[in-house]
């Protein structure tokens, strides 16, 4: 019981934070939003998997990956391949010149199912592939980079290059991947129609529970010695190395874990949105995911979920009214957050919530004091800030 409470929930404060977000996405959203909007929230929550993974990787590990879309995409494509094969049974594809293969293959004069598509006829294999292929790919990248001590900006640029390469590959190999359109027209999962209303509700809840599960896994990792080592590595990598740790192994592990979480998000995206395309793999979505984590708070697993929801809500609202300025707004938001609120919303909450609560209990002149604090917040040291939010996550 104490294991569950301390290691997974993160003590009292962590348990409250988790209860609030669980209440919000499991009760409040489903009760107040219509199905269209709920499905939209479900889509945003799939990005939150990536944002949560970035808290581990970037916030704590100090490893900025600008290519998490790679893993989101690999997970999403894995699921899409399975669904596409199911949607391409000989009966519904009988007008094609080769019935029984996905339609885009037929359009590209491919007459036989490529070998790497064949195993995706099995649902078990697909689930396994969604979890292991991205992790394996991350292991290869991580092994090649971290063993050679590539880090910081260089690592970020390499991940970005890989994201670009993968996008180009998917677009270029149209016959095998569906090209720029992606894999579309997905219908059923083992005969269960994923497009009707009740399945959308069910998928939303599966998604929400998986996301909360990822937060728990993240909590466990961060409250263990591993989590403190991540912070220590971010701070003084050489000291960790000269304390007898093989630093690269820790980086590889957290990179693989982040890849696996992102891939689950990708697979859930495909299920809820009904297609997968290269526009969720490349550089732009990868950077957007980093912005979600930054806005929410890169030191807070739960903050990252709020950040994802808020930025995407803003994106939906603003991109409808001012489509041409949205990208600038997003860029500006990122710069502002990094400059003024390095720990994002969670950092701001952490800083002011305690004071606010104690003010409310004591009554009196808290308004004036809070204003004074807000005015002087910039002079506070960043180190203390990191530490506080570190405890909270």
């Amino acid at each position: 019981m104490t294991f569950f409470y301390d290691k997974l929930l993160g003590g009292k404060q962590g348990a409250i934070g988790l209860a609030i977000i669980a209440l919000l996405i499991l009760v409040v959203f489903p009760l107040t939003l219509d199905l269209f909007r709920l499905n939209l929230v479900g889509k945003y929550l799939t990005y939150a998997f990536v944002a949560v993974s970035l808290v581990l990787l970037w916030g704590y590990g100090g490893i900025l990956s600008l290519g998490q879309g790679i893993f989101f995409g690999l997970g999403g494509y894995g699921m899409a391949m399975f669904l596409k094969l199911e949607a391409s049974d000989p009966e519904s594809t009988k007008i094609q010149s080769t019935p029984g293969i996905p339609d885009f293959m037929d359009w590209n004069q491919i007459t036989e199912l490529p070998w790497f598509w064949v195993p995706f006829e099995s649902f078990g294999f697909t689930l396994l592939a969604i979890l292991t292929i991205p992790a394996l790919f991350a292991f290869i990248i991580g092994f090649a980079m971290f063993k050679r001590r590539v880090s910081g900006v260089y690592f970020a640029i390499i991940t970005q290059a890989i994201a670009l390469i993968l996008t180009v590959l998917i677009v270029g190999q149209q016959g095998y991947t569906g090209g720029i359109n992606g894999i579309t027209d997905l219908r059923t999962l083992n005969g269960w129609d994923i497009r009707d209303d009740s399945s959308k509700y069910i998928l939303y809840f599966i998604n929400a529970f998986l996301l909360l599960g990822c937060v728990l896994v993240g909590r466990y990792v961060l409250t263990s010695k591993f989590g403190r080592l991540l912070l220590a590595m971010r701070d003084k990598e050489d000291r960790v190395r000269f304390s007898g740790y093989d630093v690269s192994n820790f980086k590889i592990f957290v990179f693989c874990l982040a890849a696996m979480m992102s891939a689950i998000g990708g697979a859930m995206f495909t299920l809820q949105v009904g297609f997968m395309s290269p526009s969720f793999v490349g550089i732009v979505p990868s950077i957007e995911m980093v912005i979600f984590a930054a806005v929410g708070g890169r030191m807070s697993l739960i903050g990252a979920i709020y950040g994802t929801l808020l930025v995407n809500y803003g994106k939906t609202v603003f991109s409808e009214s001012f489509p041409e300025v949205w990208l600038f707004l997003m860029g500006g938001l990122f710069i502002a957050v990094v400059m003024f609120f390095p720990n994002g919303l969670a950092g701001i909450y952490e800083k002011y919530s305690k004071r606010l609560f104690s003010c409310l209990r004591n009554g009196g002149d808290c308004g004036r004091r809070v204003t004074a604090r807000i005015l002087s917040f910039r002079t506070k040291s960043r180190a203390t800030d990191d530490r506080r939010t570190g405890e909270a996550a």
Partner: protein, 248 residues
């Protein structure tokens, strides 16, 4: 060349060359068990480079470094640490975001693998050991304090403590009293005299008064080579040493 010795550390004919510049040139040095050796020398003499070579931060061009008759030159940094060599850096290298307790805990030599660290438990044994070391380094009352808030001298002690908790057989300290007050220097000298029991300690230091207090034997480096070696008195009166170093 690769002889068997009784020394804790036997460095033989060690050379490292950076683009033709020999920072350490044909160096041989032997350190006994229970010995506290101080290496002195003018700036650029290669003192820190010698420590870098021993702990694996820099790879030697030629020569051998043997620790209890095990060759270190082909091991990676973490393997050298696990073999029993601890090293303190010139500027205090501690984890500022973590508390003193957590700093020591991370240095505790258990759970050093990825999965070991995930399963690591803060047992009573771990806690007792941390408190014991904290008492040694005069920080028993600051365990919960964030390391960033310690004074410069206390940070130096903390880093020494982070090495002590690993119980290394060879402890290498690069300028351990830099930035310390007179009182702190005295405490540190006592600390070093205490901890060299049962292990070997290699110290780089500039402060001659401090060196005289702690050194069993002094090695003077100049331009990557040994200029003189022996007791403090002998070294201080060596005309070559006076010329290149102490005479200034």
């Amino acid at each position: 060349m690769s002889s068997e010795t009784d020394f804790t550390l036997a460095i033989e004919d060690l050379t490292v060359s950076f683009d033709g510049f020999k920072a350490v040139n044909g160096l041989s040095m032997y350190i006994d068990r229970n010995e506290l050796r101080v290496v002195i020398g003018p700036n650029g003499a290669g003192k820190t480079t010698v420590l870098d070579l021993i702990c694996g931060k820099t790879k030697a061009t030629s020569g051998s470094i043997k620790f209890k008759n095990h060759e270190l030159t082909n091991l990676s940094e973490h393997q050298i640490v696990r073999a029993g060599v601890g090293r303190k850096f010139q500027t205090p290298s501690i984890y500022e975001n973590l508390s003193v307790f957590e700093n020591l805990e991370i240095s505790y030599p258990k759970g050093r693998g990825v999965f070991g660290s995930l399963a690591f438990e803060r047992t009573a044994e771990v806690e007792a050991r941390i408190r014991e070391v904290a008492a040694d380094i005069f920080l028993e009352d600051s365990l919960e304090m964030e390391a960033a808030l310690l004074s410069h001298g206390q940070k130096q002690w903390l880093e020494i403590g982070m090495l002590l908790i690993q119980d290394p057989e060879l402890l290498m300290l690069d300028e351990p009293v830099a930035g310390m007050s007179v009182r702190e220097r005295e405490q540190t000298a006592d600390l070093l005299n205490r901890i060299c029991q049962g292990r070997s300690v290699l110290v780089i230091e500039h402060d001659m008064e401090f060196v005289a207090r702690i050194a069993h034997k002094v090695t003077v480096l100049h331009q990557g080579m040994i200029l003189a070696e022996g007791s403090m008195d002998k070294v201080q009166n060596d005309p070559k040493v006076i010329e290149v170093y102490l005479g200034h």
